[in-house]
């Protein structure tokens, strides 16, 4: 026996001087730390996901704090598992650290200036190149290539050129140093600093390579036009929202002689250094990626009239009408407030029909000087009071508006010019901010005119979905899951992710809203209600239901008005940089790759996301705990014995809070462990056979079948152990030819709760073993346990049920343990077994026999 103990110790790597019970206790403490980290991580993930719902405002500080906490918790989780596994989980620690680094890298590099040519033909620019050319140029490229609207030919000076300019003059370092040296005490100082910085930019040299590229691009433009035009030079910033806040407005220069292009380019870059931007840089240091600038260069359109086109009225976006402002001459006066522009409201249908127009006198216009630059000119009186546009022009603008909205799927703010030859040109387009009307009236929580099937449970992902009920009990059901089905299951499982693209909604009996599956449901935006307690009993396969996960109701039948009322996402918010950053972070956090614990790639090396790490950690923590108790139970010296009036000798090892007393012998009333108390209640409530006088061992009561003895196997010795704590128990009973283990963690925290049940038969004849296994399988199926069977080895699991329900199942398992032990004698026919199954279900689960 000593030899066995020593080898066991070697196997588990324990130091000989540490008593086994102390080691167990310390590792159990690691387990609890792991659970804590697991829950914190899952809660954090759920919180971050919620922020992406479009209902929240958050800033980078939030993302940074959340990412920091995530790193801390996943690290704690990996360390706890490594402690639990006595150093065998270093790989998970590495995976956790690797993933944390990847996530943090996303925060550091919010924007990058991509490598690319210094100059690009506008017609070659794609929307995906916004980082290279800025928003304005990217939109124009799209309008030219995809919509074919008339945009003057031109080229974009890229952000790569901007970077080249900064680098060549070492401006980043110089600006940062200068900013450090100043103390910004008042606005005058700030304005002075701003001017000085601008002077530095203007004094810097455009690198020859860039100058050559600009000249070449201009020559190419001339070749295409067959003339040598003066230019319109407009800024095209990356990240327009940020730029908007920073700079307030975009700078543009009209009628620029080709020789001045490089100088105007510097003017545009200098315009970035507004006092507001300076304050920002002062605090955070100058960062060239933060506000990279591109520039659009076009030939100047010598405009008879110019103006702005809104494809909707910002204050009444629901009305199908375009809003147009127009002035004589160049466009700056349309927005500059110099003259009161024409105002037109025109219909989409019939195109250009004037719904409203105001034509104030426009006595001056912005013209162009032959040597370059702009000049204010008087307008002849008869022209001054005339409208700038005709119905035909408005019809053409309405046609543009329709096509732009269809393509960009958002209202647009367009600048246009009417050439001297009467042609309309599109000069720029960008998203128009319109008033988002709040829902006219919130819909009622409950549609009383429809039959409600379920109205309890917890919403894991909001939304409305409808379809036929599909009951999922096994992996096989997932393989055949039909598109548009409503997934209904007793439990939650990360494996459901395989059908989340098809599922219209998910409803379960049990489960936690911060669990693995709930996180995935939110990632895939599947309306999901968990913990209804009874969905699988109320809903029948094929039944059409409407799941309203906004208000936590499930209705019989399809309810069109609920499906139509599905809320739309606020897309403006979703386009903001901070939102995009969180989205990118969550891509490294939420998706689950480690789906099946039995799969070969369920390894630390295969972890790609925080979710993978957490899933792996939790799964292996349970395995470690189970394995550890099995191995070390026999070694533990400080066991206590339970004195009870049933013929079962139980040895208890308390890891903390499981028993009231530390005596050698304890009574059932001393049990404080929540799971064991429940289990004991089950054990105790069954009728036990009285041992014959003089017989000490319980095995000798049960093991008397000649058929079993004839198998030649020695029955196991009568040894039953319970490792317990306040929330945990691992009960393993070896009786006769059976070995069964019930392990459970039960607490107020839904996510932590689980129980596993394993049963290994043995002895007896194949027919009898089959009957016994069938009996157990049928009964635990009625207890909602997920189970698998290999030969006569049964493994079953239940997780994330609330405390009372977990206890109820444990009591039943206690009963079942006694029941099966007694049945060995009665396994002689299938009919008898059927009778016993019914008997148990009727007596203990209140099911009709």
């Amino acid at each position: 026996m000593k030899v066995i103990k020593r080898s066991l110790r070697r196997l588990t790597g324990g130091a000989p001087e540490t008593p086994p019970s102390a080691r167990l206790a310390s590792r159990y403490a690691q387990f609890q730390r792991l659970l804590q980290a697991n829950n914190r991580t899952l809660a954090l993930m759920a919180d971050m996901e919620e922020k992406l719902s479009g209902d929240y405002l958050f800033d980078m500080a939030y993302i940074r704090a959340a990412v920091g906490e995530l790193r801390q918790e996943t690290q704690a989780l990996a360390e706890a598992l490594d402690g639990l596994g006595e150093g065998r989980y270093g790989h998970l620690k590495e995976a956790a650290a690797r993933i944390s680094r990847e996530v943090e890298a996303l925060l550091e590099h919010r924007r990058e200036i991509p490598a690319g040519p210094l100059v690009l033909d506008l017609a070659a620019v794609e929307l995906t190149q916004a980082h290279l050319v800025g928003g304005k140029a990217a939109n124009l490229g799209e309008v030219i290539r995809k919509l074919g609207l008339p945009v003057p030919p031109g080229f974009a000076i890229t952000t790569a050129a901007y970077k080249k300019f900064l680098d060549a003059n070492q401006l980043s370092q110089r600006l940062t140093e200068l900013l450090k040296g100043w103390s910004l005490e008042d606005l005058d100082t700030l304005a002075r600093v701003s001017e000085e910085l601008k002077a530095i930019i203007l004094g810097a040299r455009v690198p020859p390579e860039l100058e050559e590229a600009l000249a070449a691009a201009y020559e190419e433009l001339c070749r295409r036009l067959g003339e040598r035009p003066f230019l319109a030079v407009r800024s095209s910033a990356v990240g327009e929202d940020l730029a908007f806040t920073f700079a307030g407005q975009y700078v543009s220069f009209l009628n620029v002689p080709p020789g001045d292009l490089a100088a105007r380019y510097k003017d545009i870059l200098a315009s970035l250094f507004t006092p507001r931007a300076l304050f920002y840089y002062k605090d955070k240091g100058f960062n060239e990626e933060e506000l990279a600038m591109g520039v659009v260069v076009m030939p100047l359109i010598r405009a008879k009239a110019s103006g702005v086109l809104f494809t909707r009225q910002p204050e009444a976006p629901e009305r199908d009408a375009i809003l147009v402002n127009a002035v004589w001459g160049l466009g700056k006066y349309a927005v500059g407030g110099k003259v009161q522009p024409d105002h037109y409201l025109a219909a989409y249908e019939p195109p250009g029909e004037i719904l409203e127009q105001v034509i104030p006198p426009k006595p001056v216009r912005l013209g162009w000087r032959p040597e370059g630059g702009e000049v204010q000119e008087p307008v002849p009186p008869e022209e001054a009071t005339a409208p700038c546009l005709t119905r035909e022009h408005l019809a053409q603008l309405a046609d543009w508006a329709r096509r732009l909205e269809e393509y960009f799927r958002k209202p647009q703010d367009v600048e246009w010019a009417l050439g001297e030859d009467g042609r309309l040109w599109l000069l720029q387009t960008r998203p128009l901010r319109v008033q988002t009307r709040r829902a006219p009236s919130a819909r009622p929580r409950l549609k009383q005119e429809y039959p409600v099937l379920l109205d309890s449970g917890k919403v894991a992902c909001r939304g409305v979905g409808a379809g036929p009920v599909v009951l999922v009990k096994t992996d096989e059901d997932l393989k055949n899951f039909p598109p548009g089905g409503v997934l209904v299951s007793r439990f939650t499982s990360p494996k459901f992710v395989t059908v989340m693209r098809q599922a219209a909604a998910i409803i379960t009996d049990a489960g936690s809203v911060t669990g693995h599956m709930a996180l995935l449901a939110r990632e895939f935006q599947v309306p999901t209600i968990l913990d209804t307690g009874k969905a699988t009993r109320i809903l029948t396969p094929g039944q059409l239901v409407t799941v309203d996960a906004d208000y936590n109701n499930v209705y019989d039948g399809l309810i069109p008005e609920l499906l139509e009322a599905r809320e739309r996402r606020d897309s403006d918010l979703a386009d903001s940089p901070v939102f995009q950053t969180l989205k990118a972070v969550l891509q490294k956090v939420i998706p689950l790759n480690l789906i099946n614990p039995r799969a070969e790639n369920f390894t630390p090396e295969a972890c790609r996301t925080v979710h993978d790490v957490v899933r792996y950690g939790h799964e292996y923590a349970m395995r470690e705990l189970f394995r550890m108790t099995e191995l070390e139970l026999t070694e533990a010296g400080e066991v206590q014995e339970l004195e009870a009036d049933i013929p079962l000798k139980l040895r208890l090892l308390d890891l903390g809070g499981g028993l009231r007393r530390r005596r050698r012998r304890v009574r059932p009333s001393d049990i404080e462990s929540i799971p064991f108390k429940a289990f004991w209640q089950g054990l105790r409530s069954m009728p036990w056979p009285k041992p014959a006088p003089g017989v000490k061992s319980l095995s000798s009561v049960f093991v008397k079948e000649e058929a079993e003895v004839a198998q030649g196997a020695d029955p196991w010795r009568d040894q039953s152990y319970v490792v317990l704590s306040r929330n945990y128990m691992n009960f393993s009973i070896r009786l006769g030819y059976h070995l069964s283990t019930v392990e459970a963690y039960v607490s107020e925290v839904l996510n932590d709760n689980y129980l596993t049940f394993s049963f290994r038969g043995g002895g007896s004849t194949p027919e009898r073993r089959e009957r016994r296994t069938r009996l157990i399988e049928t009964i635990i199926d009625h207890m909602d346990l997920q189970h698998t069977r290999q030969g006569d080895y049964i493994e079953a699991r239940l997780a994330k049920y609330p405390l009372e329900k977990m206890c109820g199942r444990l009591t039943l398992l206690g009963k079942l343990t006694v029941y099966t032990k007694q049945l060995d004698m009665a396994l002689f026919s299938d009919g008898i077994v059927d009778w016993y199954i019914k008997e148990f279900l009727r007596e203990h689960l209140n099911l009709p026999g």
């Binding site: 922020k51 940020l242 806040t245 605090d283 903001s576």
Partner: protein, 139 residues
């Protein structure tokens, strides 16, 4: 329609605030990340409500609050605090902030807080006007 001045050190937050408030209400939002500019704006322009973060590098939100209240005792200040800095929020309330919300917050939370402030502002103005009438009316 009212005028709101929003002050925060994060430009992202400012653009979101502006986008959201102007998208969902009729109010106009002026934004700045610069306390000097904020003070300058408060001196030169009229606002109904100031939305300000409390903890910003290089700027003390409480100081701005006091400055705003000195400038116009009726000016309402809605304070935005980071989660976990409730003490500062309470201090701000003691110094005359109208209300506070904790970051991150729901859109609706912000809109309701603004709505509440604007209604209060309206009531105060009405009250003042009535009082003036009353005082002017009595011989």
């Amino acid at each position: 329609m009212g005028r709101i001045l929003a002050v925060d050190d994060e430009l992202d937050m400012l653009s979101l605030l502006k986008m959201m408030v102007e998208g969902y209400t009729d109010h106009q939002v002026v934004v700045t990340n610069n306390p000097l500019e904020a003070k300058d704006l408060l001196e030169k322009e009229r606002f109904d409500l100031v939305l300000t973060d409390l903890k910003m590098p290089g700027m003390d939100g409480l100081e701005l609050l006091e400055f705003a209240r000195r400038q116009d005792p009726d000016l309402l200040v809605l304070v935005i605090t980071a989660f976990g800095s409730l003490e500062t929020a309470e201090e701000a309330m003691a110094k005359g902030a109208f209300d506070y919300i904790t970051k991150p917050f729901r859109k609706e939370q912000l809109l309701l807080a603004i709505d509440k402030a604007m209604r209060w502002r309206e009531l105060v103005e009405q009250n003042k006007a009535l009082r003036r009438q009353l005082e002017g009316g009595t011989p």
